[in-house]
Symmetry: C2
Subunit: 239 residues, 2 copies
DNA sequence: CAAACTTATAGTTTATTTGACTACAAGGTT
DNA sequence: AACCTTGTAGTCAAATAAACTATAAGTTTG
């Protein structure tokens, strides 16, 4: 597709192609043992062969961008049940060395206990990294990761998306530690309990923890229906 | 550029082009006489000729997406001093009737008193619309507008971007009305004053309003340097 | 088996913030 | 001069958040 532009220096009308290569790159977050991790892959082909970066891929003509992101995650992890949100488009002309490639960043939150990584046919390896173990990634992937963290931190305070990182059943301490880890703050146990329970978003279960070397904590579940009901009434989640 | 994909039904590897046409569309907000407005343009060419939509255009190969958005706004309004932020990419395959076109949405906040609209060579007319005067726009532009409003509302509470819609010098009532209009709430004058002044972000000027038929209010200016200084110390703007 | 230890959970107290409201000041208009 | 509109200062009760104390319910250790 060729379109007309005004050349800013000469003022003349020039014709240029407006076709671009577009990729998707996704930051996948997991929570394990009290720390936040991201899933990185080692590229198996092309100029970035052998280097680590975010999982990603190309968008097909007939699918929406969101669907492309879902498809890529399905190919990589096999899970269908995850939280996925677009970050934004990253389009510095220099971000990709060979051609102009615009990428659309996503981030996903998954329950780590629920799946196995399949490296897939463009990756030779896939591995979880703690946030401060991440070193130099390909292209602008460090920048995308950084941006995803900012978004995650701001979103997690205003919407109950944190639950997507925990198992179905969790204790209040686990939930608190999740918030502590993501937000990088220290929280007070009794105060956190009170605050989160007052929202009435959690269902307390009969079950308790097992195999712990201390008093077993009650297990809770997030009540999504109740959340939506409350939201419609004007309730705003805020930690 | 041709890439390989796994066909999900047959499991075979197929080759597809990954080139896409990408545009930029921008929601431009202005504030006038107590109400929030958006700048729309009437398209002068192509299949949408005669219809109203968001101002937009194509991205050149050698410019970043942000720069493309700046360039388009400059071409349209002539202003260089504005607030600009990317929303996200919109890429439903059906959003554009002829081809697959992915668009990257932006929103801008401008001081309406500072500029004149130039319709430009792809638009036959440009006009400010109050938010509830906006009717059916081309493509998915209503959706982009809706999304921009959600973003504006959430952002304006957490960052002092609202000032970009006001003249350099403004009264506290003007500022309060801006927040009332954007957030759709009623605020209490004394309480709003106290809250906003406590942040120490405003410089009070010697000047007062003129030509008003009531007690003249003091004029204030936003102190950007002070804002950045406070932010570095951990201050968080919140209305 | 009891003491020590760890985490869970309940409750108290104080400081801070928010929200609603009252009162008066400072102009211009009639 | 009376009145109207908006600006500005101050008060007070209610709600919320933050810091802290205390106790309960288990495990582990000696």
């Amino acid at each position: 597709m060729i379109k007309k532009f005004i050349d800013e220096e000469s003022g003349k009308i020039v014709e240029k192609s407006v076709m671009n290569a577009i990729t998707i790159d996704c930051v996948i977050f997991g929570f394990d043992n009290g720390s936040l991790e991201v899933l990185l892959i080692e590229h198996a082909e092309g100029i970035s062969k052998g280097k680590w970066g975010l999982p990603g891929g190309w968008i097909k003509k007939e699918e929406s961008i969101d669907n492309a992101a879902y498809r890529l995650l399905r190919e990589l992890t096999g899970i269908k049940d995850l939280y996925l949100e677009q970050l934004r488009a990253f389009g510095e002309p220099s971000r990709f060395p060979l051609d102009r490639v615009i990428t659309i960043g996503y981030y996903a939150l998954i329950k780590k206990d629920m799946f196995n990584i399949k490296a897939g046919f463009t990756a030779s390896d896939a591995k979880w990294y703690g946030l401060n173990e991440v070193e130099n990634l390909i292209y602008d992937h460090n920048k995308i990761l950084e941006y995803s963290l900012i978004r995650l931190r701001s979103k997690v305070k205003r919407a109950p998306i944190g639950f997507n990182l925990l198992p179905e059943k969790f204790t209040l301490l686990q939930l608190m530690q999740l918030y502590e880890e993501i937000l990088g703050v220290q929280l007070d146990k009794p105060n956190f309990r009170r605050k989160i329970l007052k929202m009435k978003l959690l269902v307390v279960l009969e079950e308790k923890q097992t195999n712990v070397s201390h008093r077993a904590a009650k297990l809770y579940m997030f009540d999504k229906e109740r959340y939506e009901m409350l939201t419609n009434k004007g309730f705003i989640f805020e930690v």
